[in-house]
């Protein structure tokens, strides 16, 4: 059960291997990697700002909520901050369970809540300058279905 906020890129494969190392009770691992989309050439870079302290606290709370709802054997959230280029990974969520249903549901729940309940903000570098990304109503709707 780990939450990390970091500037460095992550290696999803190595994180998965670390999670499964020397144990034989995990039946499945559902995971999600979010990447910077270039939108053609419209986005040249993305900078993630966050609220240090509150971010880690909210991620831990969201992760604890997931563990209370589903049978999880392990769980990992890594969210990057700082500047990153199109194609680079932003976020990783791994959920390990004995059964796939719990792993899938928890992973999707964590991503939906991350999008609406963790204090991160995205700023895009475009050919016309920088702009702050607007929050999406579809993200609020996705998160609301778990309430």
């Amino acid at each position: 059960m780990t939450v990390r906020v970091q500037e460095a890129p992550f290696d999803a494969g190595a994180e998965t291997a670390a999670l499964t190392a020397s144990r034989t009770d995990i039946g499945g691992i559902a995971s999600f990697v979010g990447l910077v989309r270039g939108e053609g050439d419209a986005v040249r870079a993305l900078t993630l700002e966050h609220y240090p302290g509150m971010t880690e606290r909210r991620l831990a709370e969201i992760e604890a909520e997931a563990r209370s709802r589903w049978e999880l054997l392990d769980c990992l959230i890594i969210h990057r901050v700082g500047r990153m280029l199109p194609g680079e990974p932003i976020v990783l969520v791994l959920c390990a369970s004995a059964h796939r249903g719990d792993a899938f549901a928890a992973c999707q729940f964590l991503m939906d809540w991350l999008k609406t309940d963790a204090p991160f903000w995205k700023q895009e570098e475009t050919p016309d300058g920088t702009r702050w990304v607007d929050a999406k109503e579809s993200d609020d709707a996705a998160a609301a279905k778990w309430k």
Binding site: Y51, H79, F120, A135
Partner: protein
């Protein structure tokens, strides 16, 4: 009391952090916002559309009606866009 601003609110206000001494009579987050808005154009711009402003007291989400009692760190920010 420490105030924090993030994303475009920080840009509008011109800084991301400040220590303030509140005058008497400011008891809620909403009253704090009114007091800040009166301090200058940057604050007025940051809080122009109050509906989209989110607030946290001591790193917990709160509404504008929340009392300031016990608050040591108050943050204002736009809707989050992580993930």
């Amino acid at each position: 009391m420490k105030l924090l601003y993030f994303a475009w609110m920080k840009a509008a206000i011109g800084h991301g952090e400040e220590i303030v001494d509140l005058p008497e009579g400011i008891a809620t987050v909403g009253q704090l916002v009114e007091w800040l808005v009166a301090r200058g154009d940057g604050y007025a711009r940051a809080f122009r559309n109050i509906k989209v402003v989110r607030a946290a007291i001591n790193q917990q989400f709160v509404t504008l009606e929340a009392p300031l009692a016990g608050a040591t760190e108050i943050a204002f920010f736009p809707p989050v866009t992580g993930g």
